[in-house]
């Protein structure tokens, strides 16, 4: 019983392969035929309306937490209101709908019959054909053993009882194909294939009852739902997302010195002047007024064009006042990003940008000139000229203009 039977190759050529090919072709044929035959149905307006109402109610249920409570209640009342709510089906109508529709509507009955036929006929025909032509011999060997109980099922035409159950007749090959080719059909025929009969039958039985029962079901579903407005939590969620984003942009220090852009004759003094200016900006970044006052000379002169007073500030004290107001106005979130563009001797030119710290959006741009001198061995800034590019016409950047006005106002107050 354990030895392998040697089966004639003719069986392979003339039984297995043709059977499989025929079944595949019949499946494809059935698919196309059912596609052709299905096109004649015009949908009923009432059913479509009800279907759409159900879809809307379902969407409301799914997205209930994204709208405020009052809006949700209003919509819910619209649907479930006792008098004229859309989902409310008066008792009398409910029971009679499904069955009556199914049988009294000739179109639907015809449709169902057609669909059933298109499924059953090819199967029956093929089965009869297999039985007639391919019975009475061993067709294939299945690779796994089965118990004796399967013998009667699988070895129908074979009357020897000593043959291993693994050797099956062609009828079982037919059934194997029937089930196994479903997967293949779903691959080659795309999503919609009419060959899956079990699924079809389930759809058939569910269809007639859809309209009125599901209305009631949706209504109950809407009544049950608890509303929990998700909006207040969204700020935290937005914060979490922004944090994650900012982690991805490596936070470059706002004093990225791009050396290649700084032209100028070398020399140690240049380095020191540049260093001093950068120290100034570091102090601004760190909001450190002490370091700031370290780098500003006693007779420092400050001019900037974004303060409409256009008076220069003379002297360290005034410069410090200016800077401290600037720092306060900048607050926590705006930073200078500085790029030295020019330094020659004791003069340093700097191109700067104001940026929102977290997301690196540029709020303003400008240019500053610094002249330094050496005093008691330290390099101090003696002249500052700042020019800011006019940005007032850009709406989001009006932010800076607010600061301008504030600075102006405060400084005016200070001097007068």
């Amino acid at each position: 019983m354990a030895e392998d039977l040697v089966l004639d190759t003719a069986i392979r050529d003339w039984v297995l392969i043709p059977l499989s090919v025929v079944m595949v072709l019949i499946g494809v044929l059935r698919y196309f035929v059912s596609k052709l035959m299905r096109s004649s149905q015009t949908p009923d307006l009432k059913i479509v309306k009800e279907g759409q109402v159900i879809v809307r109610a379902r969407n409301l249920r799914a997205a209930a937490n994204f709208i405020p409570l009052k809006a949700f209640r209003a919509r819910k009342a619209y649907f479930t209101n006792e008098e004229n709510g859309l989902l409310h089906v008066p008792k009398g109508q409910a029971a009679s709908n499904p069955q009556a529709q199914m049988f009294s509507d000739p179109n639907m009955a015809m449709d169902m019959m057609k669909k059933n036929l298109s499924m059953i006929i090819p199967q029956t025909l093929t089965f009869a054909w297999v039985n007639f032509f391919f019975s009475g011999f061993v067709a294939a060997k299945i690779p796994f053993p089965l118990t004796q109980r399967f013998r009667s099922m699988l070895q129908n035409g074979i009357d020897l009882s000593t043959v291993d159950v693994s050797y099956v007749s062609s009828r079982s090959w037919y059934f194997l194909n029937l089930f196994g080719l479903r997967g293949l059909f779903s691959l080659i025929l795309g999503e919609e294939n009419a060959t899956d009969d079990t699924q079809r039958m389930m759809q058939m039985s569910g269809f007639g009852f859809d309209p009125s029962k599901s209305l009631g079901a949706e209504k109950d579903g809407l009544d049950i739902i608890q509303h929990d407005w998700a909006m207040p939590k969204f700020e935290q969620r937005a914060e979490a997302v922004l944090r994650k984003l900012s982690r991805f942009f490596p936070s470059h220090s706002s004093l990225s010195v791009i050396a290649r852009n700084a032209k100028g004759s070398g020399g140690e003094e240049d380095g020191r002047a540049l260093e001093t200016v950068l120290k100034l900006y570091t102090a601004i970044k760190d909001r450190d007024l002490d370091v700031l006052s370290d780098v500003i000379g006693e007779e420092c002169r400050c001019v900037c064009n974004f303060v409409s007073a256009f008076q220069p500030w003379e002297g360290k004290a005034q410069a410090l006042v200016f800077f401290s107001y600037l720092l306060r106005k900048l607050g926590e979130h705006i930073d200078f990003v500085v790029q030295p563009t020019f330094h020659d001797g004791m003069t340093v030119g700097v191109h700067w940008r104001l940026e929102w710290k977290e997301t690196k959006i540029t709020l303003g741009e400008g240019f500053s000139f610094y002249m330094c001198h050496v005093y008691h061995g330290k390099v101090l800034i003696k002249n500052v000229e700042m020019f800011m590019e006019p940005l007032l016409h850009i709406e989001p950047l009006r932010l800076v203009s607010q600061y301008e006005h504030y600075i102006t106002f405060q400084l005016n107050e200070l001097w007068n």
Binding site: R12, L16, A140, L176, N177, R182, L184, L187, A230
Partner: protein, 119 residues
């Protein structure tokens, strides 16, 4: 024609990380379809391979589960291992359609086995 496209798993909008993830239904269905196609395809190929290699009985079924596991891992890798932005639970990728491909696998396994070994 052939809807089988292994290489596209579409992203879903999940509107709330913490509490109620709501998913875009169409995208989710499309993702499920991709899983289904992938599994079917792999089970067919697996069946042919098992038949050619001559696996019998238990070995064959073990091979089937192996192929399914490989498919799951492949799908997870395709989703970039952040399963929650494409599906609503791990079970979808791992278990869904596990047994659906069994019949196709057995069919092609039998077919290939017979072709090769009992020709």
């Amino acid at each position: 024609m052939a809807g089988h496209d292994d290489s596209s798993v579409s992203e879903k909008k999940s509107n709330d990380i913490s509490d109620l993830p709501t998913f875009n239904v169409e995208n989710m269905q499309s993702n499920m379809k991709v899983i289904y196609y992938s599994r079917t395809f792999m089970s067919i190929i697996g069946g042919v391979i098992a038949g050619v290699l001559g696996f019998t009985s238990l070995m064959g079924f073990i091979f089937y589960f192996l192929v399914m596991a490989i498919t799951s891992v492949g799908l997870a890798a395709k989703a970039g291992f952040s399963v929650h932005s494409y599906f609503d639970s791990w079970n979808r990728i791992i278990l869904d359609g596990f047994l659906g491909g069994l019949m196709s696998f057995v069919l092609f396994w039998t077919f290939a086995y017979d072709m090769v070994h009992i020709f």
